[in-house]
Structures are given as C-alpha cells and as structure tokens.
Symmetry: D3
Subunit: 286 residues, 6 copies
C-alpha cells in the first residue's frame, strides 16, 4: 500500500476514538490523573501487526511509547510489545481502541503469514492475495495487515483494477468475453491492469486470446487448473497473463493449490473470518 501519510492516519485514528468516547470516559475521571507506565503484552504467539498505528495513536494523546518490534515481527506469548508512559486518563482512553487494532491486525497478519509460509516451504513463488471481502469501513487497515503478513492486497477498491466477473457477463445477452475484453482494452486507462474471471476452460481459452493482464480461474477443480496451466506452456513467458485462482480456498485446502504456474491465490477468509490475537494492557504499579 506504500507510504501512508501520517496526517491521514491521524484523522482515521481520531475517528476511532470518537466512536468510543464521544462524550468522554465516565470511569477514568473518578480517579486522579497520574503519570503512569503501562505495557501491552501478547497473550499468544503471533506475527505483530498494528503496533505502528498504536504508536501514532499514543502520540496523539501525548503518550510516550517504546517498542522493540516493528509490524511484521514474530512475537511470543508474554512479550511486551509496547511500553507506554503518560497520563492515566489518556492511556485508559485509548486502551481499547489500541488493543482492538492490534488484535485484529495481528490476527490477519498471522494467518496471512502462515499461508505465505506454506507457499514458501513448497518452494513456490505464488502470491497469497486478499479480496474485497473486508469489514466495511476498515478495509484500509485490513489490507495493510495482509501486506505486512507477506500477502498481496489485491485491488483496494472498485476504482483500482478492471476485474470482469461472471455477473458482468450475465447483464445482457449481447455481452460476452470477446466483446467485453475488446471494450475493456479500448476504454480503460493504460495505467490500470485488466483482469477477467473465467468459469471453465472454454472461457479461459477465449480470454487468453486477448492477453488480459490477469486471468482468474474461479472455482476451478485442480484438474481444470492443470489443464489451463498446460495450455499456457505454448506461450512465451512475456505473453502469458498472470493466473489467479480463487473460490473456497483457505488454510484447510491450500496445499492442493500449491501448483507451479499459478501466480496468485486469493483467499476471502484472510479478512472475512479472522481469529483475533489476544493482547492485554496492564498498568504497572509504581
């Protein structure tokens, strides 16, 4: 996702605090506002993610932070991932938001990284990619966590990349792979890639002739994938589109798809069904 402008991150993070404390924290003000220390600690092993957002959040509330870790670092149960010093009310104010970010993002990063590792262990060079099946309003952060885990963000939104799907072809009898790809090349900015989803080998062959940047094999059986890949062999490397497979792939069946020649495996559950990693914040008694 590249370099994220801090001022935009700050705006996003303040909106999250607003969600949690629009009319103030009715508990912490019952207690004197003391300079304290606090630690955020991992309650399970994980690949850390979101710690850099937490540090910006702390800065916004004048909380000094120290962390030995960057996003993407493996951590163990019990590791203190963030040390904080600031006023007690400020630390308690951001506590839940910071933890919620860490928990989800580390969950996504850890899961992504485990799948990326399977690929690497198989000696392959296949990208594990996210989809647009993200939590509404939180996509920015979820795609970031996928990237930190070594995954590919895939397109961020509908404006990013042309992706012609099965539903597009059903809109009218007059629409077919041939004419939609022809129009796509005509009407799309040269700065964008063009991808098409195909449902069977016949569609694959038709699409191939147009040399789109990417062809997505949707819900193909392993056998069908292999046939498709075989038909690519005749082509020179330069004229091959990237091959993405998708449809019902998760950690449970990923191994079946670790086939040489596939370029991308996209997996909705990277973002749609995440197990959070548990973290807790503890105030350090003086």
């Amino acid at each position: 996702m590249g370099y994220l402008p801090q001022k935009l991150l700050e705006k996003k993070l303040i909106a999250l605090i607003e969600e949690d404390a629009a009319f103030g924290d009715v508990t912490s003000h019952l207690i004197p506002n003391k300079h304290i220390k606090a630690h955020i600690t991992a309650k399970e092993a994980a690949i850390l993610s979101g710690i850099e957002f937490c540090e910006i959040l702390c800065q916004l509330f004048h909380i000094q932070t120290h962390s030995k870790y960057l996003d993407g670092t493996p951590i163990n149960k019990g590791d203190t991932v963030l040390e904080m010093r600031g006023l007690s009310r400020d630390i308690l104010l951001i506590e839940r938001t910071a933890l919620n970010l860490l928990m989800r993002l580390s969950g996504i990063t850890t899961y992504t990284q485990s799948l990326v590792k399977l690929v690497k262990d198989a000696g392959l060079n296949i990208k594990i990619a996210a989809t647009r099946k993200t939590t509404p309003g939180f996509r920015f952060f979820e795609k970031y966590a996928v990237e930190i885990g070594g995954g590919d963000t895939h397109r961020m939104n509908l404006s990013d990349t042309v992706l012609i799907k099965e539903n597009h072809l059903k809109i009218s009898k007059d629409v077919n792979i041939d004419n939609i790809l022809r129009i796509a090349f005509e009407k799309t900015s040269f700065s964008k890639k063009i991808e098409i989803e195909v449902e069977n080998l016949k569609e694959f062959q038709i699409a191939l002739a147009y040399k789109p940047d990417i062809i997505m094999l949707d819900d193909f059986s392993i056998e069908m994938i292999q046939k498709a890949l075989k038909s690519l062999e005749k082509l020179s490397i330069e004229s091959r589109p990237l091959i993405e497979v998708s449809g019902g792939i998760s950690d449970k069946n990923l191994k079946n798809y670790l086939i040489n020649g596939i370029d991308i495996i996209s997996i909705g559950s990277l973002t749609h069904s995440v197990k959070s990693i548990d973290f807790s914040l503890k105030i350090i008694p003086e």
Copy 2:
C-alpha cells in the same frame, strides 16, 4: 440499541460505498447499463442479519428490493434472502458492500444466537453480552448483530456506563475499591449504571457492600463464582447487584458457566473473532 434514525444509517452506508468506489467502478461501465434482476442467496444456514441495512443501501441507489426475511430469521443454504431490481451498474456498485455487511453481521448474529440457545436450553435466564472488543469503526453494526442474535450489547462506549476495572485500581496506591466506589456514586449521573470488575472473592465482598448495579467476576474459576453467588443468597433480591462473568469464555467452555445466579456472561469473541456467513449475489439472466 433502539430505533436507528434512517438518515444516520444512510450517511454511514454512503461512507462505506465511498470506501469501495471513490473514483467510480472501472469495470461495470464497460457494459451497457441495463435494468436487471439479481438475487442474494445464502450459501450456508444461518440467522440472517444485516438485510435491513442492505435494503436501505439499495434504496439509496434506486434499487427495488423484496425480501421475505427480517433480521433475526433463520435461513437455510440456498435461500434467496434479497431480490433486487435496478440498473446493472448500481447493483454491481453496491454488491460487495452489501455482501460484506450481510456476511459479518449474519456471522455475529448466528454465533450469538447459538450461545443464547445454549442458555435457553439449560432453562436459564442469563444474558450473553458483547464487549467493546469490536472492529474499530464498525462497532455500531457489530453491536446491532449481537442484539439481533438475542445477545446484550453491553455498553456501547466509554461514555455509556461506569465500569471500574483492575487497571483503574492500579493507577495509584491511594485508590481502592472502597474509595473509588464511593466517588463513583457521588460523581456519576443518576441516569447511568455503575459496574465494578473484581479479581477475587475478597474484592467481591468489598464491592458488594457498596451495592453497585453490576459486579463483574473477572477470570473467576467456577468454584470462585459459586462462592460469590452463595454469598449473595443472604441478600434480598432487590439489593443484589447483577452478576456478570467474563474472561476467556467462548462456545467451547460456555456450558461450564451456565450456573443459576449468574445474570450476564460477556464474551469478547462474539465480535473479535467472527466466522462470516457466506452469501453470493447472482444476476438473473433474462
């Protein structure tokens, strides 16, 4: 959560479309803009949730909708939960956002309802409650899904209910359960409830003397919970605070906590680790 103002929902939903299509949909415009029909279909059994938000989203884009289901209805695999008629580009524009809402909210509602059912099947009257461990920026919708599943939203944010936790007591040596509860009753609006989290039976007894509205037994063993409940028996029903238990409870161990006398069981995984329910949108060929 009560009655949600449609105009505020519309604003939230438009922000979600903005996340996905700020510079337009670069694919759907390649195809003529036709009046079409489309169906959203469940790909697994679930308790439906979010369908009412989808209908408002459709209205915003002049898509007519028909659904036999309300939020909270059980649905089966293959059920068409929403029929839509509108322009193809509008339907494709909102497709992913609508599905993302349905997938997550139905996931949360289905999981919540399964836990609520365990309680009911045990003939008990215990509320299954969410926590603030929600996806940043998406809490509104997640708490809604918990409520639709028969769960309790618990407090929406830091401004809602006083909840004194372990960390509050660690801020200063001068703070203890006695003085913080005394101050809480003094300084808190009569319109809000006061809850305190206790870590052991001694703290429980101290807190009990102040009659807070709710006492949360944090990470109590079953034995400790039973002791705490026993000590409540001497009190008249009116003077008993509500008893909430929390800490590491999920579908895996909920049964152990189905103990008469507990009023609320709060479960972070209702919202922090959700398995989405799969739905798909299909355009109906003419």
Copy 3:
C-alpha cells in the same frame, strides 16, 4: 461526563472557529501582527466555566495562557480569568469564540450552582439535573457546564437511558405502563437504566410494582409528590426506585420542591433559558 478526549475537543473548537472565520478575519490583517498580551476579565461575579476549553482553543493557535482558575471556581467582577500572550491576529481571531463559550457556560454553571446551593442549604441530598432541552449542536458543552455547577447531566441523548414518557403510552391503545415496562426490562441492555414518567398517583403505583430504576413524577402537585413519597416508605431502601420530579420548576419555585425523599429535580431552564455572564477581552497596551 468524565474525561473528555482532547483531540475531540480540538475538533469541536476548530469547527467553531470555522463558523466565525471561514474566509479569514478581514479586519485584523489591516494592522501589523504583533506579539501582544491580552486579558479576559469578568464583568460580573459568577462561577467560572469554560476556561479549560478556552485554554485548548488558545493552544491551537499558539497562544500561551495562564489562569489562576479552574472551571467551577467562584470569581468576582473584575477578576482576570485568563492571561494570554500571542500574535495579535490569533488572539483577535479566537476572541469572540472564546468569550461566547465562557459567557454561556459560566451562565449555566452559575445558575446551576445557585440551585444546587439552595438544596444544600436545606440540608438535602437532591440532585439538580439538566434535561435534553439544550441548544441544538451545543449540548456537549451545556451538559458540561451543568456538571461543573454541581448538577447532574441526566441522559446525554436518546441512546443513553430508557425514559418512557407520556407520549409513548399514547401511541397505541395496546400500550400501557404494565406491558411497556415488562418489555423494557426484556429488551434493554442490562447496562442501561430504565426510567418512566408518570402523570398521576395511579400510574405511579403501577410503575412502582415493576421497580424501574427511576420514576419521574411529571407535573405533580406538592401534595401528590408527598403522597407518592409516602407510599415508598413501606419499601426497603434497596427496592425503592429513584424519584425524579419535573415540570415547570425553576429558581422561582424550587424551594417548594425541597422535600426529603426526592432524589432528582430536573429543570429545563438550566439550559434552555440562560442569562450569559459578561466577560471582555482587553489587549494590554505595551
């Protein structure tokens, strides 16, 4: 209202400056931009309120401030409540917004505190509470001023506390106090209080049987209030709901309502008809 996140306050305060200077200050730029001192001085005795918001506002525009007073302090005519040092154009830019905040909030706090004092002087422990009759868009600040004056904010908004009013009961013939209270206990989060407004003693008795957290006696005569309180005496202290009285109460007739047994007196004029306290800002000639 608890601890207010500074970043959210800053956002609110910048919006107020935007109201006054969206296209700049067309007067102050006619004069050289000098480092100056300025004082805000009270033109009448009051309980100060809003000074902490003014200091944040000054910080936002790089104006150094010094004040001997905190919100809630009594001040006399002529007291300098804020000393400022900064660039003349910045001080003139925020002058009116700062004064407008101070004038209204000190007005509300001073009036609230005068009523709270009447209660205390009578040796009673009755809360003087605000209502939702606040200036649209400015409620956050007005409720704050009530709290600083020793009053109770009452619910901040429709999402805070269940409050069943006369109008709710008129919606349908099938709705009555019995069934609405039963449903309220069923459907409302345990984290929220339930209050009901009653119009007469009969309604009061019906409501009482359900033990709502609070019963509001709306427009009750003194005699009726006394009868209601008498019927509470039979109940144990724990099973008594809080009693709120409301309806046409102001500084003019408050004394009549200083009756032992009342818990809360809510007064719309705390926020709907406020006399501002006069303050002025003077630049100190070198």
Copy 4:
C-alpha cells in the same frame, strides 16, 4: 440572510439528530411502530420562529406536516403550530430537536420583535441588530431568528464586514484611527463595508473625516450620542456614515436610545441571554 439552500439546511438538521440519537432511540423501539398524529402546541404567546426548519426536519424522516403559520407569525398560547403524521418512532426521534429549535428561535424572534416594536411605536427608523455574541455552532439559526423578528443580522462572521474595534487600536503604538482607516480603504474589497468603533467624541471626529460606512458609538452616554449626532447635521445626507450605538443596551434601557439620527442599535442579549418560548408535542390518541 437571504435564501437558504435546502440541501445545506438538511445537512445541518441531520447533524442535530446525530447529536441526539447516534446509537438510536432506546425507548421508542419498545413500542410498536404505528402511524400516528401529533401536534406541536405553543404553551405561551410568541412570535413563531423555526417552524420552517421543523418542516424540513419532518420531511427528512417522512413525516407529513401541516401548519397554518409561517415564521414570523404571532401565535397565542394553545395554538397548534404544527400537525404531523408519520410513524411513531420517527416523530419521537425528532421531537426534542424540533422543540429545541422552536423554543430558542421563537424566544429570540419574540424578544427581537418586542424591541423592534418599541422603535416603530416611537415612529423611528432604527434597526435593532444582533451581534456575534451567539451560541457557538448555532449562529446560523440565531441570526435567522433575529431577522425573522425584524432585526438586522449584522455581520455573520469575521469575514463579512470590516469592523475596527478598540482592541485593534491597542495592538501597537503606531496604530491610530487615521492610519488604520486609510489602510482599510486601501486594502479592503470594494464589495465590503467598513465600520469603526469609537470610544469618545474626539475619536468620532477623527473617524468621521474618513467617511467609513458605519461608525459605532461604543458605550456612549446619551449626551455624547447627541453631540455626535449634532456634528453630523452639517454633513449632506449622502456623506453621513450610518451611526450604530452599542454597549449594555437591552429591553430595560432601550427607550433612552430611541433618538432620531441613530441608524442601528446593536444588542448582544438578542442572542446571548434568551428566554426560550415553551412548546410541547403531544401524540393525538386515536
């Protein structure tokens, strides 16, 4: 203030609903959502103001309205100023916001109109003008109410009109009425008026020589005002600036200032210390 764009009003009104119901109305949803009628009724005589905003607010929530009155109409105690038909939850959702608008705006309009009437009854042609002493964030509505009451809004904000005040002259020893007025004419857009506040007759004479559009006599005694007016008599009508008087003027002493030759009397209390007019909304039982 001219013609207010409805879409901008809608945005402002939705923000007000957001203040009151960000997480929904937790009470009205306990009751079936019925088609009902409701009336807003004046509880005291007044000049009505804000009714047109209420009607737009109703439209936004699909509530049909009927009113016999326009903003600016005198109404009596008991008059039904708005009849509404819609869903009970929608009517209850906007109730408080609608009443809060009506109460404050009618308060301001009624007070303004009473002062305007004093002027007219004296057979004079003096404008009663508001100041910028408005409730932060609510100025738009308050200035509107002044205008409806026959008053003059005066400048809406710091960008509207040049107004050189005492504080401007104190910024530097090098600044005086002469050079600041000279610079003002040089640097100010021809599309804006230039006004200067003077503290005494000497300053008045200096200012007069520059023919600013308006001279404000600040805290002038009646005698001083008369002297100032006398010195204008020598000037031709065209070359006279408008004369505004201000400083501690309210309904209590306005009569003293009803002097032929004064063009404008500006009065902070029009907006800073308003007594709201009481209105109530009643649901009409079927």
Copy 5:
C-alpha cells in the same frame, strides 16, 4: 473512471453549493419565488462536458431538466444545452456553480479532444493522457473531462500505479534503476502496473531489461525517442513495455511527437492551463 456512484457525486456537488451559499443567497430572496424556465446556452463552439453533473445538481434542488446533449457531444455557439424549470431561487442558487462546472469541464474536454483528433488524423493510435497537475480538490472532475474528450486519465493519485521518477533515484546513492525495479516487482501488488521514467537512452536500456509495464521517456528529443523506439523493434510485441513520452508537450508541438510506436503522450496543460468555454444562463421571460 468508470461508473460514478450518484450518492458520492451528490455529496461533492452539495459541498460546492456550500462554498457559494453557506449563509444563503442575499439577493434572490428580495424577489418573489416564482416557477420559471431558464436556459443554459453555449457562447462558443465546444465539446460539451459536465452537463450530467449539472443535471444531478438540478435534481438536488428540485429543478427539472431537459437536455438534448450528453457529455462528449460537439455543440455550437448559441446551442441551448440545458433547459431548466423550477423555482427562481433554486435556479439562481445553483447558476454559478453549474456554469463554473460546465465552463471548466468543457474547456478541458474541448482541448483534449482537439489533441486526440490530431492523433487520429495522423492515423495513429496514441493515447493523449492527463497528468496529476490538476487543480487541488477538483481532480475528480478534471480527469473526468479528459476522459470525455477521448483522453486517458492516467493514474488518479499516488496510490494507483507505481511510477518511479527521476527524484526517486536521487534519494540515495544506493538507489538505481536496477535495484528499484527489482524491488518494485517484489513489493508491488500484482494488481498494479509499474512504470518508470527515464532521462536518457542508457537508462532506457537498463529499464527495458526489467520489462516494466510502461516506460516514460522524459524530455527526450525526437531523435532520442526514435532511437528508443528502434531498440524496441527487436522485441516481440508481447514483451514490449508501453512507451509514454512527456515533457513540455502541448498543442503547439504535439505534431512532432506523432510518431508510430509511441503509446502515450502525457500533457500537463490538459488540466493545468485551461481556457474555459463560455456559457450563460438566461431566465426566459414568461
């Protein structure tokens, strides 16, 4: 740019009205609010652009519209491009904003189309592309106008396409075309294209070896361009990157660049120095 969500367009258009009429139109309300007709007429020949935004703007203010033209249509001096019927105050409210949109967008579209025509007339298939040299805050509309004129939007923003420029290579001595292109392929989502700007033929050869999607020849002389194109001839069509030329190209010298083999010519003046097309709105007397 694809299909633009109407609700997002509405939000953008309302913001534009807010810029022009935040406190209302102080002129049109002086006159009765009548149902009127009005025409927008071209005062010079052009390619029309922005008319569809004007129609949405009209809808927002309940103005009925009729137009014989779509964006992209050639129009002549005197052509009525939009007929409107609505209330006079609404038409006058949006008049200037509608005209400002039409004037700029038609200016950009007309200029773009004139350059596109030069290319077509030369029998070539070169895209005329915009740059990011757009008016801050108005890029969305300007890129749209380029597209309507037959041009290519090029990347919408920094998040769209990787584009390595001369400045990137100067950041550190350790950075060169070789390693930055290698890293770019590694770290960039497969869904995005990678482009590199080269300053001379040597850089071009280095870049070519990495087969980026696009190579931009920055400020190349015609001779250098021809040499670069010649070296591409050895490559198979599939393995050729797209060739973009840029740097000081405008209508004045475009002809020199109409060289077979160039794929894209990007031209900053498409958006940074636009001559507006003149339109006027006339109310049609009854």
Copy 6:
C-alpha cells in the same frame, strides 16, 4: 480576505493530500526513507503566490522549509523559491500538491498583477476585480491569489454582497429596478453593500436614483460607459455610487476600459482561464 486561521488552512491542505494519497504512495516506499534536501524552482518568471500555503503543508509533514520570498514577490526563471529538508517519503508525498498550488496561484497572481500594472501605468485608480467564475471547491485559494496580485476579490459568495443582476429582473413582470432596489434597502443588513447590474443607460439612470453602493455596467460599449460617467459628474463625490464595468474584458482589451471615473473592472478570466506558472521540485543529491 484578511487573516486566514492556520488551523482551517491545515484542514484544507490535508484534504488535498487525501485526494492524492488516500491509500498511500505506492512508489516512494520502495526506496529507503532518507533525510534529504529538495528545492522548488521556478521555470519561468512570475509573481510568486502560494508559497505560504506550501510552507504550512510542509510543517504538517515535518518538513523544514526556508524561503527568501513571500507571496507577491516577483521571481525569475531559475529562482529557488523553497528549500526543504525532511524525510524523502514526506517530501515526495506532498510534492505534487505543493506544486499544483504554486502553479495555479502564481498563474493567477501573475496575470492579475499584469493587469493591475496596466492600470497603474495609466495613472489610474481602478480596481481589477475577480468574479465568482472560480474552480468549484478551490475559490478560497483563487481569490487569495487575486488579492496577492493586487486585485480585488469581489464578493466571495452569494452571502457576501447583494448583487442584483439581469436575471433577477426577468423573474416576474412585477419586478423592476425601482421596486427591487427599494426592497433591497429595506431587507438587507446595513452591514452589506448593495450592487445592481444595468444593461443600458436608461436602467443606469433609474438605478442611480436609489444610490446603491455600486452600479455594474454590464457589456456597455465605451461610448455608453462615457455617457454614464458623465451623468455622474453632476453628483457630489459622496453621493456617487462606485462604478464597476464588466463583460468580456481581458488583457486583450483592458486598455480600452482605462477610463477615469471607473472604479472597478471585473474580469472572469482572472480565475476561469489561467495559464499555470511552471515550477519543479528537485531532490538535491548528497
């Protein structure tokens, strides 16, 4: 436009960065983030404008700046107008937005100043004024650039000044210059000026009788202008309205309008058809 509140400028500038980098800069993060120097250099002679906005933009991203120039200073080709030191990713992030601001604003300022100079060289005291023909959403900056060039912003928006135009008079047969001017004086705040546009000498005479603050001679021939000016001669200086001429005036024919007695010449092309000034940002190799 007076003194612009920095916090509001910051908000505007952050919105511009958001337009360009909502999902981050996908290029600069491929390269190590180094402390670097960079220069912005003029590629042609101009009057500099926008440099102060660039400095605020730099501050927001922790980039230190140094400039020898203020807005309004003449610069030559090759002049370094801004020296920057900061992290490479931050400098590249803001590069395009900063340059886009400088290019447009310097273009407007330079063009305005050239016209202002023509007036001065003719020994006249005529203001060159902008119109509301600005880029939607960017007016604030464009009017600023006009002012820096020595021009007059004219009214900022529809709320600023009453300006009765030809279209107003066509709304109804019952509307004419007489009654609309009478109403305008009655209904308009004394703090605003009243201007009327006239189409011919007859209208001019009618308008003159009402002594509006300004009369705009729309599309008058030179001869008609001279007749109008002649008829003013009989009036005392104080009772003369300001005379604005407008309609098709640009640098090409301005000389014809340099007539003694004209107060303002308003020129749409100051903002609607601007040639940007070219600037570039270069990173300085170590």
